[in-house]
Symmetry: D2
Subunit: 94 residues, 4 copies
């Protein structure tokens, strides 16, 4: 599951997602919610997804924005299938 | 703000909401979410609304269902404008 | 895991918990938090425990109080080890 | 309320808090919780404080850590009493 993806595999996996980009070997997306309360509720909802996947992003929040950066630390901070699975799972509840 | 509403006023206010009913002088509605995690996130979101209104429902949750019962305790458990304002505020974030 | 517990097993398991009682074949406890915001945060925290156990209580909240009723529906609403494991898990984060 | 604080006032206010430092005209603190679920629950709890103060930090989370950076944007990103009041309020629920 934690095998590093090749550039081609990353390209392909990325094309199946919406709004995500790769930066410094991390999957990155910023969600814009209606307000702060919506952003916090979304953090809770995606938190459940993270626990289910046993995989956790770097998360930042400013008012209504929630930015996620996903990488696989124990794969030397490279992108793996786990990262794309988490991104997909979070998109499903966003 | 905490004046008891007359039966006619309750009738009128109720007609402006969707899915709420009056039972034992309480405004009652059950929201059905996709799953438990969605229900908990909704509880957080409506919690912000409650704090903003400084008015809090009796809340119950079973798996994906969240039931709210709203009344004004310090008005002798009668329905007031505060109750309908909270119901409306929660509907807006549901 | 979902085997019904005998009255003796229930008695023994209950003696290992604090603040829980058995009522109508349900494990019941009311937590009293400092205020509403603390209660909602606790609901989030215990929600993670429920998802981890894949077992969910009937939950109710009034202001700073959170009441949980735990039973095993697919065991004919009888108490099982799953119920006591969840109760213990929630106590650990309360 | 949004008056910029002098260096002396900042020094004094900072001395009344624990674990906060000033960096680039921002109040900064990292809380370390037991695990990810505790961190998310804390984000919810402090979220209520932010809404009450109508003032919101830059927040980041990695697993069990929650870092807050507080400044007053509409005061030209300078520190004001609002920032210290929020920091104090969050410490009270941490």
């Amino acid at each position: 599951m934690s095998k590093n993806l090749s550039p081609e595999e990353i390209e392909k996996s990325l094309s199946e997602l919406t709004g995500w980009s790769v930066k410094d070997q991390k999957l990155v997306k910023t969600y814009e919610k209606k307000d702060f309360a919506d952003a916090v509720s979304f953090i809770v909802r995606l938190g459940f997804v993270c626990e289910k996947h046993d995989h956790h992003p770097e998360l930042s929040n400013v008012w209504n924005k929630v930015t996620l950066e996903i990488t696989t630390h124990d794969a030397g901070n490279q992108l793996t299938e786990k990262d794309f699975a988490l991104a997909k799972g979070i998109d499903e509840v966003a």
